[in-house]
Amino acid sequence: MTPRMTRIALGIAAPVLALVAAFLITSLVLLIAGDPVGEVWSTILSVPATRNIANIINSATVLYISGLAVAVGFRMNLFNIGVDGQYRIAAFAAAFVAGEAWLPGYLNTLLAVVAAILVGAAWAGIAGVLRARRGVSEVISTIMLNAISTYLVAYLLRQAAVQEQGSNIIATREIPEGSRIPGFSLSDQAGTTVYGFVFIAILLGIGYWVMLNRTRFGFDLRATGRSEPAAIASGIDTKRMIIYTMLISGGIAGLVGLPILFGAAYSYGSTFQSGLGFAGIAIALLGRNHPIGIALGALLFAFLDEQSNPLQILVDVAPDIVKITQGIIVLTVVIAYEVVRRYGLRIEQRQVAQALERPAGEKSEVSA
């Protein structure tokens, strides 16, 4: 095998190894609990119907954006745990702006999207400024900001909301039809509509890649992530980089709730989906911060979520079992990459030692 092939093989080996391990551990949990292992897996791994495929693509879109938001921070060793709070407060802001409909049609949509980006960025920016100027760990500050945003949104919702008649669910004013983002159907059946936002998500992924790999800013960002002292030595203002990175991460996080808002819910209510930020952390780790890897990770998580739904009805097992699988995947992926990295290092060392031995024709001292 050429070194290049070895590297590719090892790169594929790690996620496969992680998935197999997660599969085995989950099976073990099911076995111990006395649930039917075979039936659970045959339900989850069955071929999804068209309606389910649409659902999988839709939730993967949302998870993908969340994963990108976390990944930007990861590339600079910043841990944005606050995506959860950022997307909720931003989605509320967007829903409010779009619901008020100050501008007509898609101008209204554009304004709402910009509002979401700005609010998300500002909320994350608090953590960025605290880290850069006061040395506060962004992990702790974003956790606090998550909780604060929960109560702040609850308060603002009560101020801005309109009560639906005959129910105690409160929500913002519904977005007018002309400002919604249309989807497209996978087939003639009902319930197979895919969010139009999926294209925006793809563009976002491309933009993420270009920004990181083809711009000066992206180079500075990755350099700071690799080695802060080296970055400082080469003249990068790392404090400013911290703030910018948090702003970008928060800005992307602001978009997380929008596919749901403009494609399905049309308003922000007390039942708006939460917890998407934490899934984003897992997905960014799974995809190794690479835009395509994150996409695959998002699809996998969406697949597991969607396919586990009928478990309760079909085989009487709580669908929460896939959350265990998802959590274990996060751990096994990281461990698998580390194990594979150490193994690859050893192969490389052996190859170098062989290459050194051959031409000289005498025993080399280095034979690790």
Binding site: L130, L145, D320, V334, I335
Partner: protein, 419 residues
């Protein structure tokens, strides 16, 4: 020689910082109670320091304090533990399952054991496999949530009063009431004499229906202080958090100490979760922890990685949480006045130390708080519940330079790299 001397100087300069002796805690408590009595007198918000409030504060403080104590053990050995929340969740289930089947005290043990399992996962991932501590913690939070929901559906469905998201009612652990003393103190509390009445309320909360688990938690604090700071074991454990390489060259088995610390950490967080299920409410419920693991972590940082400070921080969080539940609008509204007064003092102090900008900021916030106090009648409930988190953020923003975490906290250490 001079290097040694300067190191000694530095040690001497560092030592007293951030230390809170037990006496200072008592004096601090008395001072806090005094301030609250003054506030009650001035504002007429009479639920600020009633015995009911103080008892509820104790109940609210203990889970946060136990989670924070778990964080303390783990971080003193150099392992950051974001997974406290997950370990607490596991603890609530352990208390629910074992408490229902075998009685409350086995429930307590079950909570500790379940939390320790979470700690074991964290220890294996971070210490053996060198996984980033925060990644492992996030994963444990995901796994623990999924596992408890899955197990709860399995264990509690079909039981009387139980279901997918909650366990049947659990029996409480024993509590102590010293009847005559409680009644006598109740009389004094009712007399309404300034400060004496509040002092009696505080003491009354301690002798009326005091759960044994509260006592156990306080005992664990004393024990932790003694073990970590007064024994050779504790010194070795803390040395792993300060400089694992140096510890290893001195023959300390770093992996073993980190393992023990993280296991204890999980057990304590689990006990905190168990307290929520057994004492603070009467059954296991889905989502019962409500982020208290994170708050515990914040309280520990607030307390500068010391047990005394941690306890004070937890008390602050417990108190604000309690006020959020009991006529919170009125009480927190009254606290605004206190905040304004304290900030004025801070502003004057900073002005005298020639920190004019921060003095100005403090003065502006003080003015804002006072304006808010005189222009409104009550603080909305959402802001009351937000208070602990905002407090933590402010403390971190203004005091983070004074905090000193263990030097090797969060770093991955591999055996044999000491050279």
């Amino acid at each position: 020689m001079s290097a040694l001397a300067s190191a000694k100087d530095r040690l001497a300069a560092v030592r007293p910082k951030g230390r809170i002796s037990p006496w200072w805690i008592l004096i601090g408590l008395a001072a806090a109670l005094f301030l609250l009595s003054v506030l009650q007198l001035v504002t007429g918000a009479d639920d600020l320091a009633s015995s009911g409030t103080i008892r509820a504060t104790l109940i609210a403080t203990v889970p946060i304090a136990l989670a924070g104590l778990g964080g303390l053990w783990s971080e003193r050995s150099g392992v950051v533990n974001i997974g406290l929340e997950g370990m607490m969740i596991l603890g609530t289930f352990g208390a629910g399952f074992f408490g229902y089947h075998y009685g409350p005290w086995v429930g307590v043990l079950g909570a500790i054991a379940m939390g320790a399992i979470g700690g074991l996962i964290h220890a294996v991932a971070t210490v053996l496999f060198g996984v980033d501590h925060i990644i492992s913690g996030v994963a444990i939070n995901i796994i623990a949530l999924g596992a408890t929901q899955y197990l709860a559906a399995l264990a509690f469905s079909g039981l009387p009063g139980g279901g997918q998201t909650q366990s049947p009612t659990l029996r409480d652990v024993n509590s102590i009431t010293i009847g005559p003393l409680s009644d006598a103190l109740g009389d004094i509390e009712g007399s309404g004499i300034f400060f004496v009445s509040e002092l009696a309320a505080g003491l009354r909360a301690l002798v009326t229906e005091l759960s044994l688990l509260v006592l156990l938690a306080l005992l664990l604090f004393v024990l932790t202080y003694f073990v970590l700071w007064r024994t050779a074991f504790g010194l070795r454990l803390r040395s792993c958090g300060e400089s694992p390489a140096a510890a290893e060259t001195l023959g300390v088995n770093v992996y073993r100490y980190k393992f023990i610390a993280v296991l204890v950490s999980g057990g304590l967080a689990g006990l905190g979760g168990g307290f929520l299920a057994l004492v603070a409410s009467s059954n296991y419920r889905d989502g019962q922890t409500g982020g208290r693991g994170y708050i515990g972590l914040a309280a520990m940082i607030f307390g500068n990685w010391r047990p005394g400070g941690l306890l004070a921080g937890s008390g602050l969080f417990g108190y604000t949480e309690t006020l959020g539940l009991r006529r919170g609008g009125e009480s927190v509204h009254a606290l605004l006045l206190l905040i304004a007064a304290l900030l004025v003092i801070v502003a004057i102090w900073q002005w005298r130390r020639l920190r004019h900008v921060s003095a100005g900021v403090s003065a502006v916030i003080a003015l804002g708080a006072a304006a808010l106090y005189y222009s409104t009648d009550a603080v909305p409930g959402d802001f009351t519940r937000m208070a602990p988190y905002v407090t933590t953020l402010l403390v971190l923003a203004f005091a983070s330079q004074r905090l000193r975490m263990p030097a090797a906290d969060g770093q991955i250490y591999r055996r044999g790299t000491a050279g």
